[in-house]
Amino acid sequence: MTEATLATSASSVERRADLRAGAVQRFERIVEIRGFEERLNVLFASGAIHGTTHLALGQEALAVGLATELEPTDLVTGTYRGHALALALGMSPRAVLSEIMGKAEAPTGGLGGSMHLCDMAIGLLPTFAIVGAGLPVSVGAGLAFQYRQERHVSVALFGDGSTNIGAFHESMNLAAIWKLPVVFVCDNNVYGEYSRINLTTPIEDLHLRAASYAMPSAVVDGMDVPAVRTAVAEAVERARSGGGPTFIEAKTYRFAGHSRADTAPYRPAGELEHWQQRDPVLLARRALEAEGILDAAAIADLESRVGAALDETIETVRELPEPALATMFDNIWTPGEGAAR
């Protein structure tokens, strides 16, 4: 038998704390994210969900390693490819799925959708659908923390392609000259939409970009939770102790297409298979076995338990009520003198 799973009713803060309980819990989260994304793919393909979706298959370890080292009081900006980040930080599969299905109980009440996940209890700002848009906001949050001399950290998670937009460079520069407590985490999954990194970016080792801002940087195996944790812990410590920003490049790989309809026909032959040998689920599973923490049977048991819970969540969320029409007028204006609404 494996250790007991967190109750499905656990709060996002409890789910976050659970990541620090041990390697089994982190493995379980990775399995949950993987299972969530795979099931979502099926739901989209079957027409049960409209719009678009960006899966984070292959990027589970980065999300889990990052989340383990942050406090719920730290602030995080992410992107439209946000399911893994949100689940890792602590949002429940039910919350994330109800958002994606536009249900009334979703964190945004059904207004946001797959690209906009938010849970302020764990410091997740509504994820940004505009490439690069989260970075300046993270810089500003870092400014507020520094201003009030708080030990919080501001974290921006973004893709390799985002390092070609002005907001990236301006944000890196500003954070560096003001020595702000910001951790820039670049998920280098080799692709930006349908273009391989070499077609859009003159270098593939993006951590080199930090040097032009005299910013400390690290490059890590983003498929490996312990490696991610080590790098994030160091950056977070630097930020909390007044040492300024850090740029972390995590080498990952996008196992899925860019979005819903993309089958990624542009991948060079063998590339996916090469990276699948470093599949984060596989690596985490192997580590548990090698360290004698769980045997193969216990792992299979855990995986089927997590899968069953996800299936149940899907059935539950499908039946949840849709938002009332009036919801579309909620939370547009900020109450105040200017908004007599």
Binding site: G102, L111, A129, Y194, L325
Partner: protein
């Protein structure tokens, strides 16, 4: 052919006839465009003329301005209109002022194409039309398309135009089919509206997606309305609109964007000024509510004025000669 194929056809025909026409944008070359609006162009014209760019809207839109000044005719694709936000300076403060600041010596024969609009479940940051970002800048021509034929005709006209032109393409219409007349006779004139349906009871001015919904509403209601497809928003065709309203005495503008600051205000103001004494009733606008585009499918479906909603308002307007309340007020859901 589909509307997106009409865009490909227009670009193809312009590229065949003018070697200075080139296109650039994110995934427009190898992938043929995120919405397949440049499919096959790389194969026909090669990588010098069809270029994939990094995610650097400011740089490649600005490069379009510079290349246009230096003798090319670039067509720049902005995948979603929202992404123009980071490049707006290059157009509004840059491209639009070059001729002015050079005493007419510098021209910017640039086309910026952007997909716009709601209806595809993309949420609040990928569903706006945002035409009002660009319609109040003298010097920037802003056009839109509504059918495969208008897409073909407007796109070719935009490429040929010697000034900076923005073409807004309703994303939800890319797959719509219709006949397309290719060649010179299929080219439209910028600044010229089309009468999509002649009529005498009232004048509807629409553009983009609302042309389709307005025509459907006219069908549903049985009202003999004249439907004008404005096509060019800036500068817009006053002559066609004023002539029509002078005949019908009634004007209704149908817009996809929120009511506040919408382009229809401009039309209503001009018509009121010019034709006030001959109007049979107050001109008015049917718009989206003052809200972001919601994600939930059923909520999003109410954002763009639907044919049934337009038909309801038209019927009430004709029956009472007064301006009807929009659905959210009529249904007691929201007060303004």
């Amino acid at each position: 052919m589909r509307l997106r194929q009409a865009i490909v056809a227009a670009l193809q025909d312009e590229m065949r006839s003018d070697p200075s026409v080139m296109i650039m944008g994110e995934d427009v070359a190898v992938a043929g465009g995120p919405f397949k609006t440049s499919e096959g162009l790389l194969e026909e014209f090669g990588p010098n003329r069809v270029r994939d760019t990094p995610i650097s809207e400011m740089a490649f839109t600005g490069a379009g301005v510079g290349a246009a000044i230096a003798g090319l005719k670039p067509v720049v694709e902005i995948m979603f209109m929202e992404f123009l936000g980071v490049a707006l300076d290059q157009l509004v403060t840059g491209a639009a002022k070059m001729r002015y600041l050079s005493k007419g010596q510098v021209s910017v024969p640039l086309v910026v194409r952007a997909s716009v609009g709601s209806g595809s479940g993309f949420g609040s940051q990928h569903s706006q039309t945002l035409e009002n970002w660009v319609t109040s800048t003298p010097g920037l021509t802003v056009a839109t398309v509504s059918t495969p034929q208008t897409a073909y005709g407007i796109m070719r006209a935009a490429v040929r135009d010697p000034g900076p032109t923005i073409v807004l393409e309703p994303r939800a219409l890319y797959a719509v089919r219709g006949p397309v007349e290719r060649g010179e006779s299929g080219i439209l004139r910028l600044g010229k509206a089309l009468i999509a349906r002649p009529g005498s009871a009232l004048t509807i001015v629409a553009m983009g997606q609302t042309v389709t919904t307005s025509l459907a509403a006219v069908e549903q209601s049985g009202i003999d309305a004249e439907v004008i497809d404005l096509l060019t928003l800036a500068p817009w065709d006053r002559e066609t609109v004023l002539e029509s309203v002078a005949r019908t005495g009634r004007l209704v503008v149908v817009e996809e964007a929120p009511e506040s600051g919408g382009w229809g205000s401009e039309i209503v103001a001009a018509v009121t000024r010019e034709l006030f004494s001959s109007l049979a009733a107050a001109p008015f606008r049917i718009t989206a509510p003052n809200a972001p585009v919601p994600y939930n499918r059923e909520l999003e479906a109410r954002f763009l004025p639907q044919p049934s909603e337009i038909a309801r308002q038209l019927t009430s307007y004709l029956a009472t000669d007064s301006v009807p309340a929009p659905w959210w007020v009529a249904e007691g859901i929201h007060h303004d």
